[in-house]
Structure formats: structure tokens, C-alpha cells
């Protein structure tokens, strides 16, 4: 479809464009910026992963052969998967409710979603550090209600990271899902009801399948974003459950090991790009983005 409109307008505008500097020239400054300060640095870093300290694939062998590093990979995937799953579980009913709510109520929920999304990441992570600490509100509340005797360890572990990350990822799953559910024709569900489906059957056999592309796209996006997250895991997680981004930072900052840092960066990069390629292939480009 895109190709069609292109040729049509190309015919239309061709005589005008031939006389002025081409539009392609306009993209050159930005292209230069990206080539010099994006493509080149990343390329250099990746090159260093196979040249330092000695040429070869030694860094990758060490990275994929050590149980310590493999544990970091496993943990990264586990945390990302868990965060994605919980976000989807909470996000689906919220997106569904948003799509059919009276618009006044929906706009309040939207405002809060956007506020949370744009509030400084560190401010939000800090809030959870305070809320989840041993003497924090959550522990006090649980003790006050008589549910527990001793404060639960909620930060510097998997629980802390999962809560903090889910908090940050929720808007990124709700917004695209909302778009998809909104586009579903209510008549289809009426038809299902007329054909004798009860609510539960309509949900499982009509609404969920129709929303599936949105769920898959949103889930993939949250998963990929989680894989590369640095700040929240570093502040809410513990030493026992380090994530990949922290490992990369550690190689570079404290160990000054550029070879290993580059190798770990390449692994993260390849996984990320591969998953985005899946997303582009199956769901189009329109839902890419987020912060």
C-alpha cells in the first residue's frame, strides 16, 4: 500500500523536485550525527569484543562458558518474563475497561497513566525503595493487619525488581492493548451472544483471540525493554539477581574489561534486535516506541 501511494505522488511531484536540492540532502545532518555518534561507537565497542585482550572469540567463550555469567542471562530472561507476564495479566483488564468506559472516567485513568509514564524514572524507583524497605509502609501495613510478624524482605531481591519493573512497564502494555481492543467491532461480540455464547465463552473464544495481536506485540515490547533495563534492577535488585545491563556496566566501570563488556553488549544487542525483527515481521511498525 505504501509503495502504491509513493509511486502515485512521485509521478505527481517529480517535475517540481527535479529543480531543487533533493529531499534526501535534508536527512544528511542527522545521518552524519548518527553515523559518528551512534553507529561508529557501537561498532568500535563490538570490534573490541573480538580483539581485546587477544584477537578471537575468547570473550564470548568465557561469557557463555561461565556459570556466573549464565546465571545473569537466566536471571535477566526470568525477570523480564515474569514482569511481562504480570503486566499482561493486570494490563489486559485495564485496557479492556478503558476501551469501553465512559469517556470522562477513561480520561482520568489516561491522565494518571501518562503522568506515571513521564514521571522521572529515578523518582518512581525511589518511591518503591522507600515503600518496600523493612520499615516501609507495605511491611508496616502487613504487620498492622496481623498477616505477618516479621518484616518481609521486599527489596534487594527478585520481589523488589519485579514490583518496580512492573510498575514502570504497565503503561507500555496498557496503551497499545487499549488501541487494539478499541478497534474491535462490538457487533462481533453481539453476534457471539446471539449464537448462544455466555460471557465466559465470548471472552475466551472471541475477545481474547481478537486482542491477541495486541497482547503479543505489547508483551514483546515490554519483554525487550526489560531485558536491557539498568536503573531499576540496579536499585531494587540484589547482588544475587544481577541483570545483563548491570553486568555490562560492571565490566566497563569497575573491571575496565572492554572485551567482555563489548561481548555482553553484543549479546544484549543481538537478542533485542532479533526480537524487534520478530515484532516488525508480525505486527508492523506502528507499535514500536516508548521510552
Amino acid at each position: 500500500m505504501v509503495a502504491q501511494t509513493e509511486t502515485a505522488s512521485a509521478k505527481h511531484y517529480a517535475p517540481v523536485r527535479a529543480r531543487r536540492p533533493t529531499d534526501f540532502d535534508l536527512t544528511l545532518p542527522a545521518l552524519g550525527l548518527l553515523a559518528l555518534f551512534f553507529v561508529l561507537p557501537v561498532a568500535i565497542l563490538l570490534t573490541r569484543s573480538v580483539t581485546e585482550p587477544v584477537p578471537g572469540l575468547g570473550n564470548y567463550a568465557e561469557l557463555l562458558g561461565s556459570s556466573t555469567y549464565l546465571r545473569v542471562f537466566a536471571n535477566t530472561f526470568a525477570v523480564s518474563g515474569l514482569v511481562t507476564f504480570i503486566s499482561l495479566l493486570i494490563g489486559f483488564p485495564v485496557a479492556w475497561a478503558l476501551a469501553i468506559m465512559p469517556s470522562r472516567l477513561a480520561s482520568v485513568v489516561f491522565a494518571i497513566l501518562l503522568l506515571s509514564m513521564w514521571t522521572n524514572l529515578l523518582a518512581r524507583t525511589y518511591a518503591w525503595m522507600v515503600l518496600l524497605q523493612r520499615t516501609g509502609v507495605i511491611n508496616k501495613l502487613l504487620i498492622g493487619m496481623g498477616l505477618i510478624d516479621q518484616p518481609l524482605p521486599l527489596v534487594n531481591n527478585l520481589t523488589g525488581v519485579t514490583i518496580g519493573m512492573t510498575y514502570i512497564m504497565l503503561p507500555f502494555i496498557i496503551l497499545p492493548l487499549y488501541g487494539v481492543i478499541r478497534k474491535i467491532d462490538p457487533a462481533i461480540l453481539q453476534a457471539a451472544a446471539l449464537c448462544g455464547a455466555n460471557r465466559w465463552q465470548s471472552l475466551v473464544r472471541v475477545l481474547l483471540p481478537l486482542a491477541m495481536p495486541g497482547m503479543a506485540a505489547g508483551a514483546l515490547m515490554v519483554f525487550v525493554m526489560s531485558l536491557g533495563y539498568f536503573v531499576t534492577p540496579a536499585l531494587l535488585g540484589g547482588t544475587a539477581n544481577m541483570m545483563l545491563a548491570e553486568l555490562i556496566a560492571q565490566f566497563v566501570q569497575s573491571l575496565v574489561n572492554w572485551g567482555m563488556g563489548g561481548a555482553a553488549a553484543l549479546v544484549l544487542l543481538v537478542v533485542t534486535l532479533a526480537l524487534y525483527a520478530v515484532q516488525l515481521r508480525f505486527f508492523g511498525t506502528d507499535r514500536l516506541g516508548g521510552r
Binding site: S9, Y13, R17, T22, D23, D25, L26, T27, P29, A30, L31, L33, L34, F37, F38, V42, I44, L45, P93, A97, A99, I100, P102, V108, V109, A111, I112, L114, L115, S116, W118, T119, N120, L121, L122, A123, Y126, A127, V130, Q133, T135, V137, Y167, L170, P171, L189, S202, L203, L207, G228, F230, V231, A249, V252, W258, L269, Y276, L288, G289, G290
Partner: protein, 266 residues
């Protein structure tokens, strides 16, 4: 009927319940931090035993906080201006141009948005070590510009795609030069896109922390890096005060966006 709010029956209550709970989950931590920033307890006890402004006084009395805020602000403003200018030029090229690999080029321009920030941070850090740009304002501006530009290109491109080019052509037919037509006809028509490009660019730079952690030096650090460094030591309520000011800024910018959008509609 599952998509008809009034005919959901008791399911309606469940959906509304989950939505309200989630909304509270998203909103309460933000309000909680704002409340604690006025609380008198050093240990962030909630509800606070008393109310005070001392954390704000401490924040404003410390030149390092002010300095890092000023650094952040300067960087964000420069990044915003450059990102909008560059985004504008690039968007014109991308939306109007008919050249091979246009889609691929567009994808390339958006890659910094999807690439894990830590990879870019480490790569730029290594590169800037070699050319001496770490810990400099230029280094910060360049790296934040790389991150902000995709948002700028996205906002302006989509505004430009929604603009009917024949209006610009009409201006040219009426005697305006092509450049004049773009500046005096097209730019005002896509001003909402330019405006959101500016807001997104500003917030991207202002809030950016991962690249800044690597880029900063003892003499030059941004506000998020200062918060980060403080948080690694303890949870002091001064951070609550700083966070509250940041939240306030976000609210103001969002209101500004809402007002402008409303103004456009009417």
C-alpha cells in the same frame, strides 16, 4: 456485549475494580513521595510525625544540587533546540523525499529509541574516552541528542504526514518561494508536532540517567546522576524533595501539552 459497558453485568464491577486498583498502584507512590518530602522524619516514616520544609531548605542550600539541576537544564535546553531543528529538517526529507531506502533510513533514525540504552552508554563512553568528550557539556549534548532525536522525528513526521501538501503547493503557485511556503505555511500548520517534539526532547534529556552516569565527571553531573549517587548511599528525604520538584515539572509540562492540544481542537 463484552464491549458494551452498560451490559457487562457484575463483570463491570470486576473490571472497574481492577482498573481502580491499578490506577491507585500507579498514582500512590508518586503522591507518597510528595507527602514524605514534607514529612519531618529522617527515616521516611509514613504517616510522618510532623510536617516540615527542612528537606527543601537542605536541597536548596546545597550548591551541588542546584549546580546539577542547572547543568541538567542547560543540557536539556540545548538538546531541545538542536533536536527540534534537526528533527524538522530530517522529517521534511523523510516525509517528502522519494528516494531508495527511505523506509530503511527512517528505521535507522528510530533505532536509538529501541536499542538498550546501556549499550549506547558504554559505547559512547569508550568513544568519548578516546576523543576527550567525557565529562564535557558537548559530550552530554551529543549523547542526549542521539536519544532525543527519534522522538522529535516521530512527532514532526507524523504531523507532516497529516498536513495536506497541496496547501504548500498552492502558496508556491501564489508566488511564494518553496522555502518561504514551508516556513510561512507549513510550519505553523505542524506547530503541534514541533511542540510535542520539543517537550519529548526536553524530557528525554532532562530525565536521562544511564548515559549520564557514564558521561558525568566530579565537576559536571546532571540532576538524575546526583539523585542516583545520593540513592546509592542512603534514602534521605532530600531525594524525596528533589523528586517532588521533578514530578511537579512533569505535571506542569503535561498540563501545557493538554492546554495546547485543547487550543488546537477549538
Amino acid at each position: 456485549m463484552l464491549l458494551n459497558f452498560d451490559r457487562l453485568g457484575w463483570w463491570k464491577l470486576v473490571l472497574i475494580g481492577i482498573t481502580l486498583a491499578t490506577t491507585a498502584f500507579l498514582l500512590l507512590p508518586i503522591l507518597f513521595i510528595a507527602a514524605l518530602s514534607f514529612g519531618s522524619s529522617q527515616w521516611l516514616i509514613f504517616p510522618p510525625p510532623g510536617w516540615t520544609l527542612k528537606w527543601y531548605q537542605e536541597l536548596l542550600a546545597d550548591p551541588r544540587w542546584l549546580q546539577s539541576a542547572w547543568t541538567s537544564f542547560r543540557i536539556a535546553i540545548i538538546v531541545t533546540v538542536l533536536s527540534v531543528l534537526l528533527g524538522l529538517v530530517t522529517s521534511f526529507g523523510l516525509t517528502r523525499g522519494r528516494f531508495p531506502f527511505r523506509e530503511a533510513l527512517k528505521a535507522l533514525f528510530l533505532t536509538p529509541m529501541i536499542l538498550p540504552v546501556v549499550v549506547l552508554a558504554v559505547a559512547l563512553y569508550a568513544f568519548f574516552l578516546q576523543i576527550g568528550l567525557n565529562g564535557t557539556l558537548t559530550g552530554f549534548v551529543i549523547s542526549h541528542l542521539v536519544l532525543a532525536l527519534p522522538f522529535s522525528i516521530l512527532s514532526i513526521s507524523s504531523a507532516l504526514e497529516g498536513f495536506d501538501k497541496s496547501i504548500e503547493d498552492a502558496a508556491v503557485l501564489c508566488g511564494a518561494s518553496p522555502l518561504e511556503a514551508r516556513i510561512r505555511v507549513t510550519l505553523p500548520a505542524i506547530s503541534h508536532g514541533i511542540f510535542s517534539a520539543a517537550i519529548f526532547s526536553f524530557l528525554t534529556s532532562w530525565d536521562e540517567v544511564v548515559v549520564a552516569i557514564f558521561m558525568s565527571s566530579p565537576t559536571l553531573q546532571t540532576l538524575p546522576v546526583k539523585i542516583w549517587a545520593t540513592l546509592r548511599q542512603d534514602l534521605t528525604p532530600v531525594v524525596a524533595a528533589a523528586s517532588t520538584l521533578l514530578i511537579l515539572l512533569t505535571v506542569l509540562l503535561m498540563l501545557l501539552v493538554a492546554v495546547i492540544r485543547k487550543g488546537l481542537k477549538s
